[in-house]
C-alpha cells in the first residue's frame, strides 16, 4: 500500500513537469513575438525589450524554461497585461470563488445523483426509475451554457425569484451551482444505479437476504458500501470537470472566478493570465486525481498495486 502511494506520488512529478512545459509552450507557439505577447499589444519597444530580458526570451529555449520554472516555484507568474496586477493576486482573489461554486455544485450533484441512483436501483423499472433516468439522459446532453440561460430566463427574468448574475449572497449561488452541477448529478445517478444493480446481483447480497436480514440493512449497509467505490472515483474526476466547466457557467452568470478570468484573458490576449490560470486548473486536477487514487486504494483492498505501470 505505502509502496503504491509513494509510486503514485512519484508518477505525479513528470505530469507536473509536462503540464508546465505545455503552459510554457502556449506563448511560444502562438504566431508572433513571445515578448510582445507577454508585454501586451500596446507596449512600448523599450518595455518589450525589458520583458525579453526579464524572461530570458533572447536565450535558448532550455534557459527560457529554466527561468519560467524557477519563477513559477517562487510564485511569480508575471503581471496581467489588462489590469497590470500580478497574476498571482488575480488568481488568489478569484480562485476561492470558483472553488466555492464547484464545491457546492459537487455537493448538490452528489446528494441528488447518489440518492436518485440508489432509489432507481432498488425500485427498478418503477415510474421513479424511468423518470429519473430520463432526466439524467437529458441532464448529460443539455449544454451547460444553455441550461444557465434557461434558468436565468425562468427564475430571474420571468419569476423574478433569484438574481440573474453577480455574487454576494447565497441566492446568487443557487442558479450557477444548479447549472454547473446538473451534468454531474445526471452522471452520478447513472453510475450509482448501474453499480448498485451490479452489487445487488452478487452472491453476498443473496446470502445476506437468505440470512433473513432486513432489506433496508442489506441495501444501505452491505450493498451501498461496495456500490459507492466507482462513485468515489467519478467524484474526484467530476470535481476537476466542474472546475473546467466553470469556464462556461461563470461566463453566463458573470461569476468573477478563474473560469471567466481565463476566457476574458484569452479574448484580450492577456497571456500571462492565460498561463497562470491554465497552470492552476491543471495542477489542481492532477492533485485531485492523486487524492482520488489514494482514497481508492484504501477503499478497495481487493486491488493490488504491485505490477503494471501505474493505471
Amino acid at each position: 500500500m505505502y509502496q503504491y502511494i509513494v509510486r503514485r506520488l512519484l508518477l505525479t512529478v513528470p505530469v507536473v513537469l509536462g503540464v508546465s512545459i505545455i503552459v510554457f509552450s502556449i506563448i511560444r507557439l502562438i504566431p508572433g513575438d513571445p515578448a510582445r505577447a507577454i508585454a501586451g499589444v500596446n507596449a512600448t519597444p523599450q518595455f518589450i525589450q525589458q520583458v525579453r530580458v526579464r524572461y530570458a526570451l533572447d536565450q535558448p529555449l532550455y534557459i527560457q524554461y529554466g527561468r519560467f520554472i524557477t519563477d513559477f516555484m517562487r510564485g511569480e507568474l508575471g503581471n496581467s497585461i489588462f489590469s497590470g496586477r500580478p497574476v498571482t493576486t488575480e488568481l488568489g482573489e478569484r480562485f476561492p470563488r470558483t472553488l466555492l461554486l464547484a464545491t457546492i455544485s459537487l455537493v448538490i450533484a452528489t446528494i441528488l445523483g447518489v440518492s436518485a441512483g440508489i432509489v432507481s436501483a432498488t425500485r427498478r423499472n418503477s415510474v421513479f426509475d424511468n423518470a429519473s433516468m430520463l432526466v439524467a439522459l437529458v441532464g448529460v446532453a443539455a449544454p451547460v451554457f444553455w441550461m444557465a440561460l434557461m434558468l436565468q430566463l425562468l427564475f430571474a427574468v420571468q419569476l423574478r425569484l433569484l438574481p440573474a448574475t453577480g455574487i454576494g449572497t447565497i441566492r446568487h449561488l443557487i442558479l450557477p451551482s444548479i447549472t454547473l452541477g446538473t451534468a454531474s448529478a445526471a452522471l452520478m445517478a447513472r453510475i450509482t444505479r448501474s453499480s448498485m444493480l451490479d452489487v445487488l446481483r452478487q452472491d453476498f447480497i443473496t446470502t445476506a437476504r437468505a440470512k433473513g436480514l432486513n432489506e433496508r440493512l442489506v441495501v444501505y449497509k452491505h450493498a451501498l458500501k461496495n456500490a459507492l467505490i466507482p462513485v468515489v472515483t467519478v467524484l474526484g474526476l467530476q470535481f476537476g470537470i466542474l472546475l473546467g466547466g466553470a469556464v462556461l457557467t461563470e461566463t453566463v452568470f458573470a461569476w468573477p472566478g478563474v473560469g471567466r478570468l481565463l476566457v476574458d484573458a484569452i479574448l484580450r490576449r492577456d497571456y500571462p493570465v492565460v498561463q497562470g490560470t491554465v497552470m492552476l486548473l491543471a495542477l489542481l486536477f492532477v492533485l485531485i486525481n492523486l487524492v482520488v487514487d489514494i482514497v481508492y486504494a484504501f477503499l478497495d483492498p481487493r486491488i493490488h498495486y504491485q505490477s503494471g505501470s501505474g493505471e
Binding site: I22, M150, S309, G310
Partner: protein, 309 residues
C-alpha cells in the same frame, strides 16, 4: 432506461448469440453475422432506436439543408430584426434580421461535421498511440503513458481551450482542438484492450507464423478492439459537439457570421429578455443531437458487449 431494455433483451436472446459474441471477441472472422447480430440487438433497444431516428433526422436535414431552408442563412434584413416565430420565419429572426430556422439548418451541418471530424482526428492519432504503447510495452509504453497523463491533466474542455488559444478561433481549429482533446481517451482505451488481446493464442500464432509487428497490430489485434472504439466514438461525437458549442458560445469557436449553434446562442444572449427564441431553439437543437448520439452509444455498448446480452 437503456439498462432495462438490455436486461429484457438478454433474457429473450438465444444463448448461441452470446457465444457468437464471445467467439468474435477472439477471432476476427464472421463479420457479417456479428454485424447483423449487433444491429438486431440495437433495433430491439427502444432508446437506441429513438437515438437513431434523432441522428438520422439531423443528418437528413443537414445534407438537404439548401432544400429545407426558407431563407439565405447569411442574408441580413435590419427592418425585420428579432421577429418572434411566425409563418414567414418559422423560428423567428435574429438581431440582424436573419432567418433563425435556416441558420439552424446550416448550423446542424457544422455541428455534425465538427463531431465527426474531431472524432476522426482522435481515432487516427489516439488509436495507433494506444495500440503501439500496449503492444510493445516496456519503456515506450511508460513514456507514452506519461505523455497521455499530461494531456489528461487538463480537465474536460480545458485542453480544447488551450489548443484554440494557440491555433486561434474558427471552425477548423475547433475541430482540431476537440479532436486533440479526445486523443488521450482513445489512447487509454485502446491500450487497455490491446494489453488483453495480445495474450490471446491467435496473436502468438501470428508471431509464430512470422508476421511483422505492425501487421499483427493492425490486422490481428485492432480489428478486435473495434467494439469499444465504436462505442467511445459515438459518445465522443456527442462530447465534441458539446465542447464545440461551448467554444462557440465563449467566442473561441466559430466566428460571425457562421451559423454555428453555440455562436447563435451566444449572440442571442443579449436579447434573452425580448427574443428568447434566439437562445431557446439552438440550445434545444444541441441537446437533441447530443442526446441522440448518447442514446445510440448506450445501445451500442450493450449490443457490442457480450456480457450484457
Amino acid at each position: 432506461m437503456q439498462a432495462d431494455d438490455r436486461d429484457s433483451v438478454a433474457a429473450t436472446l438465444h444463448p448461441p448469440a452470446a457465444d457468437a459474441a464471445a467467439a468474435t471477441a477472439l477471432t476476427p472472422r464472421k463479420k457479417t453475422s456479428e454485424l447483423h447480430e449487433v444491429f438486431r440487438h440495437l433495433l430491439r433497444n427502444r432508446a437506441a432506436v429513438v437515438g437513431l431516428i434523432i441522428i438520422g433526422g439531423f443528418v437528413f436535414v443537414s445534407v438537404f439543408a439548401p432544400l429545407f431552408s426558407t431563407h439565405d442563412p447569411l442574408r441580413t434584413n435590419l427592418g425585420n430584426r428579432l421577429q418572434p416565430p411566425n409563418r414567414e420565419h418559422l423560428l423567428g429572426t435574429d438581431e440582424l434580421g436573419r432567418d433563425l430556422f435556416s441558420r439552424m439548418l446550416y448550423g446542424g451541418r457544422i455541428s455534425l461535421n465538427i463531431g465527426v471530424i474531431s472524432v476522426l482526428i482522435g481515432v487516427l492519432v489516439g488509436v495507433p498511440i494506444g495500440a503501439i504503447s500496449g503492444y510493445f510495452g516496456g519503456k515506450l509504453d511508460i513514456l507514452t503513458q506519461r505523455f497521455i497523463d499530461i494531456m489528461i491533466a487538463f480537465p474536460g474542455i480545458l485542453l480544447a481551450i488551450v489548443v484554440v488559444t494557440v491555433l486561434g478561433v474558427g471552425v477548423e481549429n475547433v475541430m482540431i482542438a476537440t479532436g486533440v482533446a479526445s486523443i488521450p481517451i482513445y489512447a487509454r482505451l485502446v491500450r487497455g484492450s490491446v494489453l488483453a488481446i495480445k495474450e490471446q493464442s491467435y496473436v502468438a500464432a501470428a508471431h509464430a507464423a512470422g508476421l511483422g509487428h505492425l501487421r499483427i497490430i493492425f490486422r490481428q489485434i485492432l480489428p478486435n478492439c473495434l467494439a469499444p472504439i465504436i462505442v467511445q466514438s459515438t459518445f465522443q461525437i456527442a462530447t465534441s459537439i458539446l465542447w464545440a458549442a461551448g467554444l462557440g458560445f465563449l467566442g473561441l469557436g466559430a466566428q460571425a457570421p457562421t451559423p454555428e449553434w453555440g455562436a447563435i446562442l451566444s449572440n442571442g444572449r443579449a436579447y434573452i429578455r425580448t427574443a428568447h427564441h434566439l437562445t431557446t431553439y439552438p440550445g434545444l437543437a444541441i441537446l437533441l443531437m447530443v442526446l441522440g448520439f448518447n442514446l445510440v452509444g448506450d445501445g451500442l455498448r450493450d449490443a457490442l458487449d457480450p456480457k450484457t446480452r
